[in-house]
Symmetry: C2
Subunit: 515 residues, 2 copies
Amino acid sequence: MADSTNTGRRKRQREPKRVLPTINQLDWTIPTYVDQPTEPLNADALARVDNAAMRILEEIGIDFLHPEAIQILVDAGCVNESGSQRVTMDRELVRAMVSKAPESFELIPRNPDHRIVWGGNIFTFGAVASPPNVSDIENGRRVGNRKDFQDLLRLSQTFNCIHFNSGYPVEPVDIHASVRHLDALYDKLTLTDKICHAYSLGPERVKDTIEMVRIAAGLSHDEFREKPRMFTNINSSSPLKHDWPMLDGAMTMARYGQPVVVAPFTLAGAMAPITLAGALAQQTAEALAAIVLLQIINPGNPVVFGAFTSNVDMKSGAPAFGTPEYVRAMQISGQLARHYKLPWRGSNANAANTPDAQSMWESMFSLMGSTSGQANMILHAAGWLEGGLTASFEKFIMDCEIIQQFMYYQQPISTSDDALAIDTIAEVGPNGHFLGCQHTQDRYLDAFYSPFLSDWSNYEAWEVNGAIDTPRRAHNLYKKLLKEFVPPPMDDATNEELKEFVERRRREGGAKTDF
Amino acid sequence: MADSTNTGRRKRQREPKRVLPTINQLDWTIPTYVDQPTEPLNADALARVDNAAMRILEEIGIDFLHPEAIQILVDAGCVNESGSQRVTMDRELVRAMVSKAPESFELIPRNPDHRIVWGGNIFTFGAVASPPNVSDIENGRRVGNRKDFQDLLRLSQTFNCIHFNSGYPVEPVDIHASVRHLDALYDKLTLTDKICHAYSLGPERVKDTIEMVRIAAGLSHDEFREKPRMFTNINSSSPLKHDWPMLDGAMTMARYGQPVVVAPFTLAGAMAPITLAGALAQQTAEALAAIVLLQIINPGNPVVFGAFTSNVDMKSGAPAFGTPEYVRAMQISGQLARHYKLPWRGSNANAANTPDAQSMWESMFSLMGSTSGQANMILHAAGWLEGGLTASFEKFIMDCEIIQQFMYYQQPISTSDDALAIDTIAEVGPNGHFLGCQHTQDRYLDAFYSPFLSDWSNYEAWEVNGAIDTPRRAHNLYKKLLKEFVPPPMDDATNEELKEFVERRRREGGAKTDF
């Protein structure tokens, strides 16, 4: 039935009435970096990190907790001693396999207008993924639930600066784990029309997600496989280990030609060496090991080099983000990714417990690192708090304000005669001002970035208006945006087909809940 | 009497007992940039901005509201039509004069251990200067007064990341304007021992400040002139105008061989063209015009190219800071300064009304712009709020936290065998962690930047400890630091001499209060 359309997009049967936008946000656009990336390592130093990563793969090896994966690797020339899960691989094989992966690729969601690209000098943002808790400043912190999950999806859909959905913006814990992915994906596919993510938690969840994404896009099975339509993100279990559920999900995705982000969680001082170069060498080895496996399974499969190296607080062992070390780790990860000709992933991370000043300076450092290193996809870009343990509604809004500014910032500066404005400077002279002159009048509407959240009124006006600080303004705004939310169109037949799929899989018992 | 010492530094007679430090801050250091600067303009585009600045100087001219300055410029070959204040100068003269200024110079305060350098790849930070108001979250916003003025100086002295004092950290309005500079300088010279600033508000204030700085350092008049010992900062009255008090102060400083920062206040859309290139061309013309005058007066006098170009909110006309435009303006100003081989000044500015999330993301953007453009001196680096109308105690502490991180961040990354840690990765293997291994134990004390203000505890611990947000932590910390403050040593004779000078000048009536 779903195979009957060839356009890749069904006719929209109902176009809901749109209300006037509450926020004056940037239009949907796929931004590109215009600056040179910041590169902390010279060519020799970069070669030393690469060499260390290769030595880890050759001499130490990576544990693959997946017998089929080990067999595939051995068949391709890797070494595994019987009875062990450790696999070593030599650098020629690694380089040959990694070179098969595309430098850049397009991903097409159910709404093709929201297609994106990962690679080259393009950058994109995805919302917070996978926190167990959610918070807002009025109701406080609570365990994740479907209502908040849906509301965060509505915000992701509302903001044009959110280019893709990643994992659940908060875990909807009130849905049973066996069927959570079905309800969650139904919500995601009906409340948003941007690129979707599948959790690599065993084979059923990935296959169900693939099927639902296919149905939502109105594609045949063959059409689905032709292009990247979604992605998964797997983390190694650092140090030096890839677990079964993640590997299995990633392998399934590769068999469907779908993108896999491989992001080791190499916290320097805990799961990786305390030295940045060592942590990055280990990150590289762990990421490339999985990428080699996926390229053997499906040569040319789109993959993303994931960078999540940060450091811990050596006093407490707590993870820290948005630190000077994190900025450098992101920039060097960018160098490594470009060396391997792979798209790469950064994050907007912080370790603050509340959406205050610290949360923003850490986020700003994280975004500075990710963008000056020229990450192609920036995960957790809006809403992440507490090192990823909570999704904050106010932080979501505040983050959208700053990621818009990072997008706007990446544009060339004109030095045309018009821009240099010598005639205007002569016309205004030493005793005038530029507010009223024609040159200003012709340009004032869109001369500058216009924030939707910042309060630039003077102190007296700000006080008269209630002295509202930024988290409270963000709170008021997200409530308003949710009230005015209109879901993206989906034709009734597709919606029915999705519902039927969910019901059928629910009757079948969903997915296994332990591994 | 003060001329009797030759060492440039008197023996310290009393060394106050030191208490244990409340904050684990970075040691005093003069940081250097290790990255390449971010340069938005290519060589052609930069040449176009330079050419536009030169055309402004040649064809439009700058008003100098100072007859003696006009005469000096005319004598050197500039053109002034009788009865007008407008001066034009051709680019050959401009380039010849600007090339006399040093690319880099050292400034030596009364404590030579706090000497700094402006130029090259060195960067330094100065505290907030000149707000009329002061605030803390407990007592709110109030008009500046001597007590708060002194407390802000104590913080400037306490933090090693504050390299120099600029103008008054808040205006001590409770001291009469005619003698304010005397009491204020006495406080500054006794509560701090870092580089001082003189307001260019007519000849008396500058001369009094020079004399007090000389006395505090125990120098003869000749010794004083041998080296930069202090600085002034002048702003053009944009567009295209230099006022009498600023010019007169700057000219006096040049006659004493002391550094002058020339910082036009070119807000795009108000006092300068709405287009960034035009605003920067105008900023350059205004800065170079004053620099030419100073180089004629004292060839080789140290000067700093000041960059303060930002934009206004076109809805309200209010100045905005820490915007994408501001970041680009700083980076391009850096390109221009390097083109003219001049040290340059940036700022840490924001337009927020309270030390919340917005204040920090705007500050982070400002610092990102100033440091990625490689400013040599960054004014208003700690404490600035409300576009400069208020000095905030909490913002001061928060800013010191982030400027320390910007300092720490600028260091090379080791890729030695030790740093790559392959043996350690092999030793720990897939089933261990790095917290306990020798490689970590040997390095954990100073492996990472250690913040003094960030709270990295988990949510539960944070809540148990009172759920204290960042401004409140900053509030508690500044109170503690003030309580524990010990002024830097000054021998009694010097202190007496300073007091006598203040008393004598007070009896003489101080300085004129209108111009």
